[in-house]
Structure formats: C-alpha cells, structure tokens
C-alpha cells in the first residue's frame, strides 16, 4: 500500500461537475497520472479549464465521481482538509500577478510552506536554494515582488509552488505574459525543477507549440476521448 510509485499522483474516475443553475456541465471519464508524468491541457476560454483546475486543487468538490490526489479522496474530504491538502501537495501558478505585492520575493516564496505548516528554518534554506536554481540571485530576495520583471515573478511563483515538495504542480497559462525567449527558458526551468522534485505538472494553455514539453495532452473540447500521448 505505502509503496510510493504505485500511488498515482492523480487518479479520477467518472468525474462530473455542474452548477446548480444548470446548463453547462463538465464530465471526464478517466484520468490517471503517475508521479513525474506531465499533462498538457488545451482549450479555449469557457471550455471549463478553470473549473477543472478548481476541482483538481480541491477548491470545489465534484458533484459525482471519484478524485484522488496522491491517494487522498478529494471528493470525500471536508473543505478545510482539502485546503491543507492543497497546501502540502498541490502547487499553483497563475497566468500572471502571482505575487503579493507588499511581500518580499523570499516571503512570497515562503507562503506555501507557511500554509503547509512546515518548519520555518528548513523552508527558508530550501526556498533560497530553489530561487537560486531558478536563476533568482540573492540580491533580489529581499526586494518587493513588484520590482521584478514578469518572467522573474513567474519563476518566484514556481519556487513558491514547489517549496512544500508537492505531488502536483498546476499551472494556469503561466507563459501567456512572456515573450518566446522567456517562455522557453521558463518551460525548461519549471519542468527541470518539477522533475527534480518528482512532481507531476498539469499545464493549461492554448499555445499548441508547448505540447512538445509534455508526456500527455488533454483537449477540453474532446474530453470524452480522454488523455492522449503527445
């Protein structure tokens, strides 16, 4: 049971979600990703990407079906348990403006370990290493987050997401505000760090050219066909 490689990072079956007001509905028959396998989710806006991410993060609960993240039944857990699960096992990176403007770079990175309840001294050391590996040098650490370029800010967000050693890294169009040089550099460091931590990446974008970085892809318009290898 506790043999780690056997527990999938994500395992979902017959996932259904719709709003009480009705109309629109999301259903995903099956999705299983093992640790270290990366998924590219493609879809236009309004296709339910955000809803899927909210479900995977444990912010919303599926109406029916089963959803396990790192073996934990997210569909059964209370909202506060899902919150602490998210803190420990799921890292999130947004499109842009990922950082709290009044906190320093280091403090922004440390937020996730704070909510995960991890030891502060260890976290600080790890955060510093992570930031350095992501190309953010020491002179930036104590600057306010707003002083950084967009590319640098996104890398701080990656550091924050990866700091608690999550099972899952969810990135919601993190490259859309970057130019192509920055984008490729970003993709490389993100995936390298994710691999180094044995973390599964779920990456949402409408940029078809990025599929080359991923093992699997999922098209929001054709959920019924499920996950396809790239």
């Amino acid at each position: 049971m506790t043999d780690k490689p056997k527990i999938p990072a994500i395992d979902l079956k017959q996932l259904q979600f719709y709003y009480q007001s009705g109309g629109w509905q999301l259903s995903l028959p099956e999705l299983t990703l093992h640790c270290g396998q990366h998924l590219f989710v493609r879809g236009a806006s309004g296709s339910g990407k955000t809803t899927l991410l909210n479900l995977l993060c444990g912010i919303t609960r599926p109406v029916s079906g089963e959803l396990y993240v790192n073996g934990q039944p997210l569909h059964k857990l209370s909202s506060s348990t899902r919150d602490s699960l998210r803190a420990k096992h799921i890292g999130v990176v947004f499109q842009q403006l990922n950082l709290i403007p009044y906190l320093s770079v280091l403090d922004n990175a440390l937020l996730s370990s704070h909510f995960a309840g991890q030891n502060k001294a260890n976290s600080v050391d790890r955060a510093k290493t992570l930031l350095q590996r992501l190309g953010l040098q020491q002179d930036l650490w104590h600057k306010p987050a707003t002083n950084l370029s967009v590319g640098q800010q996104q890398r701080v967000a990656i550091a924050r997401a990866l700091l608690p050693k999550p099972t899952l890294l969810i990135a919601d169009e993190p490259t859309s505000a970057l130019d192509s040089d920055n984008r490729d550099a970003f993709m490389r460091v993100m995936l390298a760090e994710a691999d180094a931590n044995g973390c599964t990446v779920i990456f949402v974008s409408h940029d078809q050219s990025l599929t080359q970085y991923f093992h699997y892809q999922l098209d929001m318009q054709q959920l019924a066909t499920g996950v396809q290898p790239c």
Binding site: T50, L53, N54, C57, I59, T60, S79, S80, D83, S84, R86, A87, K88, I90, V92, F94, L97, N98, L99, I100, P101, Y102, L103, D107, L110, L111, S112, H114, F115, A116, R160, P164, D172
Partner: protein
C-alpha cells in the same frame, strides 16, 4: 507570518490607513477625554470641601449658596448680620465655625475675608488640612495669605504689597488703592478653589470699606490705612459661614433650627447633599457629551470598515494567491480581523498620547478658568473597560468585510474576476 501579512498589507495601503488611523485617534481621544474629564470633574468637585457639616448663608437655593461659598462662582444674594452669626455659633452643638466674607477681588482672583479658624479647621479631599507652604497666617489687619495658584500665576513672594479691587471682575474700575496688603503666607497647593483665593482677615474687609458707601468711595472722606486702624473694625456682616459640629447626629436638628432662625432668613445646607445635587445637574450634560463621543467613535469605526470594504475589490488577487498557496477561507477572515484590530490598537495608543499631551497643555487653563483640577493619570480601570469595548466593537464591525472575504474566497476559488 499572519502578523507580517497584516502589518505589511496595512503598510501597503498606508494612505487610507493613515486617514482611518487619524479619525479613529481623534474620536477615541474624544471619548476617553470626556470620560476622563467627567470622572475627574466629579472627584474635583466632591473633594473641594470635606469635614464641614453645614454651610450657612442668607436665604437662597442650596446650589447658589454652595457655588459662591465653596467654588467662588456667582454672588451672594444677601449677607448675614454679625450679631446673628455670633448668636448661632454659641449653639452648644457647634464645635467650630469659619466666617466667610466675599465681594472683592485681586486681578480676577476672589478675595475672601475670614479668620484664623479657617487655617485650623477647613478640610478638603480626604479630611486634609490646609498647609502653609511659606510664611504664616495673617496676624495684622493688612496681611494676606495667598492660594498656591494666585502666588504662582502672579509671581508673588512673601513680603510683597498687593492692592485689592472692589467687585469680582478681572478688570475693576474701583480699586482699594490706598490700602495695600502685605503677603505674609502662601498656601500649599490643594487642587481646590482655595488655590485661587486671596485670604484676608474679616477686619481687613471692614477696613477697606470704611470710607465707602453704597459700593463707591465717599468723596472727601478718604481714610489712610493707619487711620482705619483707629476705628472699630468688628464686621457688620459676613457672607456665609461653615460649621463643624461636635456630633454629626445633630446635623439635621441644627439645620432646621438655622432655617427657622427668627432674626433673619437663613439657609443651612449639607455640602455633601448640595454637591450631589450639583453633580446630578451636570450629569445630564456629561452623559450627553459621552453619547455624542460614542457616536463619533462609531462613525469613525464605520468609516474604517467602509474603506476596508472598498479595498476588498482591489485585494481579490491577494486573496486568491493566499487561497492558492493553501490558505483556508478562515485565514482570510482572521487576516482582516487582525488588520482592523491593529489599526484600532494603534489608534488607541496614539489617542492616549494625544489626550495626555492636550491635558498637559490645558491643565493650568482648566484649573484657572473653570476651577477643574484634572489629573494626568488617564489610565484607570474605566479606561481599560473602554479600550476593551472599543476593540470588541471594531472586531464585531470587522466581521462584515471578514465574512465577505470568506464567502468570496469560497465562491471565486482560484478565478480572479477583475
């Protein structure tokens, strides 16, 4: 981290926070100030006279008698004749009596004619006797003993010569210039109207008015100080007198006997009862002031919540980031509560400082103009009650933006609606 987040978030919005802080500081200072003033005024009032069982004056209301005899506010309607005074104080129950003769002033300070019994029997606060800081009680007719405030404000020293004015205004047109007085004693500070009084003997009051008639000097009949001493200076009348009894049991009996005194209409009052009545009258105003300051505080708190609510929109991104990093909606609620409590706490500290400084600056003026002796000890049990109540009220009001943040966090999830 929570504390750091709250503090830095406030610092990030320092413009609006500063204004909120200012308005809260002013309103809390107002509330605490009014509360402080009323308790201080009350103790200042009630400590002015102590150990006196009855105050006797010409027939009038008890408040009027109390105000002019103790607080030197207002004027007597009529005098008591000297023979009546002499007759009453022969009563076997009377232990001591202090005659008081008012009506003159010195540069705005009231002059009180009395005798040396005043220095030995008058008590204030918790039965504290009057103490001479310098010199001794008056012995000669043209000697005077000054209250602490008079000596300090006018810079008088022992041996100095002063002139009295007729009437009680600060600027008087009829002076008793020809009969100067010598300062022979200065009283220690009491925190009561005694500090603002110029004390002379009853004979002196008689002497300076010898050559006066109907409140004006008689032309061509001026007498020098030396000449007046040749005359009989036994007073013809006094304004009021204070009485100490051998037994307190006799108070009401004696009060009735004085009120029914045949020779002239007199009123005897119990200072404690009169003070209580006076305080009751002022209590209305005081409660009204307190109510107004409470409303001002409420307005300031509502203002703070309004600015917080307005800022919630621009802070949606911040909240979403915290949520994504693993914050429970409760955490956001607590964060907002903490911000409110921090601002309130900070405002309370600065309000206390503001109050202390203004009291420090106004203390002398309040004492001189209103006879109110306000201490600088603003931290009392009631202040702590107020502080607790203010914190509680702000916490209750902060639940509005707090709950809003909580609900939005639940509803919006990771989406950021811009």
């Amino acid at each position: 981290m929570l504390m750091k987040l709250a503090g830095l978030s406030l610092w990030n919005r320092r413009g609006t926070v500063l204004m909120t802080w200012l308005s809260l500081t002013i309103s809390i200072a107002l509330l605490l100030g009014i509360d402080h003033l009323r308790t201080e005024a009350k103790s200042s009032f009630t400590s002015t006279v102590s150990g006196t069982d009855l105050i006797v004056g010409a027939r009038s209301g008890q408040l009027n008698l109390l105000l002019y005899s103790v607080f030197r506010i207002g004027n007597a309607t009529a005098n008591i004749s000297w023979p009546s005074y002499q007759r009453i104080i022969k009563h076997p129950q009377i232990d001591w009596a202090i005659p008081i003769s008012l009506g003159d002033s010195h540069r705005g300070y009231r002059v009180m004619g009395t005798n040396t019994d005043y220095f030995s029997h008058y008590r204030y606060a918790n039965s504290q006797p009057l103490v001479l800081a310098q010199g001794e009680p008056f012995a000669q007719v043209f000697d005077t003993v000054l209250g602490a405030e008079v000596a300090q404000k006018l810079g008088y020293k022992l041996g100095e010569q002063i002139e009295l004015s007729h009437g009680v205004g600060a600027v008087s047109f009829s002076q008793h210039k020809d009969k100067p007085f010598t300062v022979v004693g200065i009283l220690a500070r009491t925190g009561t109207p005694v500090d603002q009084t110029v004390h002379v003997s009853l004979e002196a009051i008689e002497a300076i008015h010898l050559d006066w008639q109907q409140g004006a000097p008689m032309p061509g009949r001026q007498l020098s100080s030396e000449q007046t001493l040749q005359h009989d200076l036994t007073p013809k009348s006094i304004t009021a007198f204070m009485v100490g009894l051998k037994s307190r049991m006799a108070t009401f009996t004696l009060q009735r006997q004085i009120n029914e005194f045949k020779n002239e209409p007199l009123t005897a009052i119990l200072p404690g009862v009169a003070l209580a009545e006076l305080w009751q009258m002022l209590g209305m105003v005081e409660n009204l002031l307190l109510l107004i300051s409470l409303l001002v505080l409420l307005a300031a708190l509502v203002g703070m919540i309004t600015t917080l609510l307005a800022s919630m929109k621009e802070r949606q991104r911040e909240m979403a980031i915290l949520r994504a990093a693993g914050a429970h909606p409760w955490y956001l609620f607590v964060l907002i509560q903490l911000e409110v409590l921090l601002v309130t706490l900070l405002s309370m500290l600065s309000a206390a400082a503001l109050l202390f400084i203004s009291l420090y600056l106004l203390q002398d003026k309040l004492a001189a103009d209103f006879g109110l002796f306000i201490s600088l000890h603003i931290v009392k049990l009631t202040t702590l009650y107020w502080a607790g109540a203010i914190l509680l009220l702000s916490a209750v009001l902060a639940t509005i933006p707090g709950v809003l943040a909580y609900r939005k966090a639940l509803a919006d999830g990771l989406t950021i609606r811009l």
